[in-house]
């Protein structure tokens, strides 16, 4: 954790700090050395780094919303994406927000579960998203449903 990250954590709600610290081992275990905690552009805490997919690193930022963990993390990438790329929530400049959760998923396995899921879960979902992107670029078909099955 950088010195700026430590300073940033001191400005946050105590429960958000506690939550981030609780999740830190999971992130470091799942993606060792790939992410660092920092302050995002809107003053929100975020993990910034990359996920490996097919031998290549794909940039990813996992931002904690202010109402975390009630709301899931927001996944953004600075990877240049085709204009017609599906499953993009929105674009802002060079940054695209990945759609990784169906907002009203009826299947509990496709829902954000604050009791069980962490930023590491979101990072794994992003990996899957990038894999699907590669298939789409190659074959023109998005191979998986929108929402990530959290239990895979």
């Amino acid at each position: 954790m950088t010195g700026n990250a430590r300073a940033m954590l001191s400005d946050l709600r105590p429960e958000l700090v506690r939550r981030i610290l609780w999740e830190k081992p999971a992130v470091e275990a799942k993606f060792p050395g790939r992410f660092r905690l920092m302050v995002g552009s809107r003053g929100l805490p975020a993990w910034d780094g990359s996920v490996p997919v097919e031998g290549r690193d794909y940039p990813l930022r996992v931002t904690y919303p202010g109402a975390y963990p009630g709301l899931p993390p927001v996944l953004t990438t600075t990877l240049g994406l085709p204009p017609n790329c599906p499953h993009i929530w929105n674009r802002f400049g060079s940054e695209s927000t990945i759609c990784w959760l169906a907002p009203d998923a009826s299947d509990p396995r496709r829902r954000w579960d604050p009791q069980r899921h962490t930023a590491a879960t979101a990072m794994h979902a992003a990996q899957r998203w990038f894999q699907a992107l590669l298939v789409w670029i190659t074959l023109g078909v998005w191979p998986v449903p929108d929402a990530y099955d959290m239990d895979t």
């Binding site: 963990p69 009826s106 590491a120």
Partner: protein, 387 residues
């Protein structure tokens, strides 16, 4: 009649009546536990929050902090305490309370809890106990998180099963209850639906096929939070859709019917009574809370007015559930292990071994009632008397 040993040195008829029409004058045989100094935060001034606020004020709670982001709509009128569409719900309820209960101090705020979590936190910190009567799960999990840093209690109230099931959950970090997340998992609500549908509506029987996926008993779109959530396994009551006063909420006219005041008032009164019992216990009179709980670890109450299939309950049945926190809970709400508990798996090792999320496979999360005692745990873990 209550024993005076249960009270904190209170004598009958010595506590001054604070209201012009104080209902407590009809219960002079019982000890009067003064709640004028109690401060309660009501998060969500919708149907449940509004009526619960009135019940709390009527029970003598002296200070209420109401908060809700929404304005009253025409659709709400059939089950809401307030009567003026277009105005902020919290302010309308506050007006009603001041008009009816001259001794109560009420403050109303209008803001979105998810947009302003710091402001929400201040409300919870200022109160002795909070009522969470919001209509969305994200807010409940956000509040749940705050309760454990602030060490404050809350009662989560909701209407389920198409409006015919009332559920309240007591979360009290100081008393060691399970957190809201563990309790919700225990009753079978897994995860958060981010963008929920309209208020606890019933679909017309004629528009939904009998084998619709929505009849799955574990369809957790039936999140009747506050007054919200689709029905699960409920078909419309015969004749209910003929009520000309019903206004479809979603714009999908003739498809959805909203349930009404009966379920709302039940949930509101159950929540208010529990909160009053908690406040009384904090002031030395424990009888009411003991009557509520009746067994160690009881922190969830479900009451079905009609048959609620997803609960396998009703009509007119009350279920009390004892829930133990999951050892891997982010709030660390699990009690210390008992000598005969199975060995707990190290949550840190589980985190590293899977997708990054701790798993909640403890007995409290089986989601199915144990047939002998109807509590939500595996038979091997049952320490209750058989029903």
């Amino acid at each position: 009649m209550a024993s005076w040993d249960d009270s904190v040195g209170l004598e009958p008829n010595t506590v001054p009546l604070m209201l012009p029409h104080d209902p407590r004058e009809h219960f002079r045989g019982e000890p009067l536990v003064e709640l004028r100094g109690a401060e309660v935060a009501v998060l969500g001034a919708g149907s449940v929050g509004g009526f619960a606020s009135a019940a709390l004020a009527g029970a003598g709670v002296g200070r209420l902090l109401l908060a809700d982001k929404e304005r009253l709509s025409e659709d709400n009128l059939r089950r809401h305490l307030a009567t003026q569409p277009g105005r902020a719900k919290a302010r309308l309820v506050a007006q009603q309370l001041r008009r009816r209960f001259s001794g109560v101090q009420v403050r109303a705020e209008q803001f979105c809890f998810l947009d302003r979590p710091e402001r929400l936190r201040k409300l919870i910190a200022a109160a002795e106990i909070a009522l969470v009567a919001t209509d969305n799960e994200p807010t409940k999990y956000l509040v749940n998180d705050m309760l454990f840093t602030l060490r404050k209690p809350a009662v989560f109230a909701g209407v389920y099963g198409g409006g015919w099931g009332a559920e309240v959950i007591l979360v009290d970090p100081e008393a060691g209850t399970a957190c809201y997340g563990c309790a919700a998992n225990a009753v079978g609500r897994l995860g958060v639906v981010i963008d929920q549908g309209p208020a606890y509506v019933l679909q017309r029987a004629s528009t939904r096929p009998a084998d619709s996926p929505a009849t799955n008993g574990h369809d957790h779109r039936a999140h009747g939070n506050g007054s919200s959530g689709r029905s699960s396994g409920q078909t419309a009551e015969p004749g209910a859709e003929l009520n000309g006063s019903l206004t479809p909420h979603t714009g999908r006219t003739n498809d959805w019917i909203q349930a009404g005041l009966i379920g709302v008032a039940t949930a509101a009164n159950l929540a208010a009574d529990l909160m009053v019992a908690w406040l009384q216990a904090r002031r030395g009179w424990h009888r009411a809370l003991r009557a509520f709980q009746s067994a160690e670890d009881v922190s969830v109450w479900q009451f079905a007015i009609r048959r609620v299939p997803v609960w396998d309950l009703g009509p007119w049945e009350l279920r009390k559930l004892a829930v133990r926190g999951n050892p891997a809970c982010p709030q660390s709400c699990a009690p210390p292990p008992r000598p005969d508990d199975p060995p707990a798996r190290d949550p840190a090792l589980r985190i590293s071994a899977d997708s990054g999320a701790p798993h909640d496979d403890s007995p409290a999360h089986t989601g199915r009632p144990h047939s002998s005692c109807r509590l939500l745990h595996a038979p091997a873990d049952c320490r209750c008397k058989a029903a």
